[in-house]
């Protein structure tokens, strides 16, 4: 039954990847990256049990953390950039 779930997660990862590649807006891509990250976290948890090494769940936790920080960093960059652009236009 782990295989069924892993398969669903893998397919969803592929779908998210397509969304990240085609866009169209940057926010769609950020959304896809975020989704991809959480799906990787789930996949790792499942595979850790498939391998019978539940001590590797640390990895999944790391993925979840890093993904969150990455998404916030992207958004922060994005907002400061759009503000800078607005600023240039008003100059």
């Amino acid at each position: 039954m782990y295989y069924v779930v892993s398969f669903a997660i893998l397919v969803t990862m592929a779908l998210a990847l397509i969304r990240a590649v085609v866009g169209p807006s940057v926010y769609d891509r950020v959304l896809a990256v975020n989704m991809f990250g959480t799906k990787t976290t789930l996949l790792l948890s499942v595979v850790a049990f498939l391998y019978g090494r539940p001590d590797f769940l640390d990895l999944a936790l790391t993925y979840a953390m890093i993904n969150f920080i990455g998404v916030l960093a992207v958004l922060e960059f994005f907002q400061s950039r759009s503000i800078r652009r607005e600023n240039k236009q008003t100059d």
């Binding site: 669903a8 969803t12 948890s45 049990f49 769940l57 936790l61």
Partner: protein, 107 residues
């Protein structure tokens, strides 16, 4: 007892997998950003909860279950936060949600 837990976790995992897949499909196929976001957050919340609960049942009362709980709490805290920040910055940048109107649908 073991059989009951197996069946229960099997159900949780399968339903979780279905949620994940449907959400992924929605994130790809829905027409605009905000609707896609709705689909994606479905995979983040329902999918994660069900799958992690399913694995937790398999793990039993152990350190692994605690770690899974930590992952679950973490995902449940960060997922909506990231979604909020994302939607907020999308809205601020001028990406307006499209409302569903009957005259739109008739086209």
């Amino acid at each position: 007892m073991a059989l009951v837990i197996d069946i229960l976790s099997w159900i949780l995992l399968t339903v979780g997998g279905a949620f994940i897949f449907i959400g992924g499909l929605g994130a790809l196929r829905l027409p605009n950003f905000y609707t896609r976001m709705h689909a994606a957050s479905l995979t983040d919340s329902m999918g994660s909860i069900l799958i992690l609960l399913g694995i937790m049942l398999q793990a039993g009362w152990s350190l692994a279950a605690f770690k899974l709980l930590a992952i679950l709490v973490f995902l449940l805290l960060t997922g909506p936060t990231a979604s909020y920040a994302l939607a907020n910055s999308a809205l601020l940048s001028g990406l307006k949600p499209e409302y569903f109107r009957p005259d739109n649908a008739e086209k």
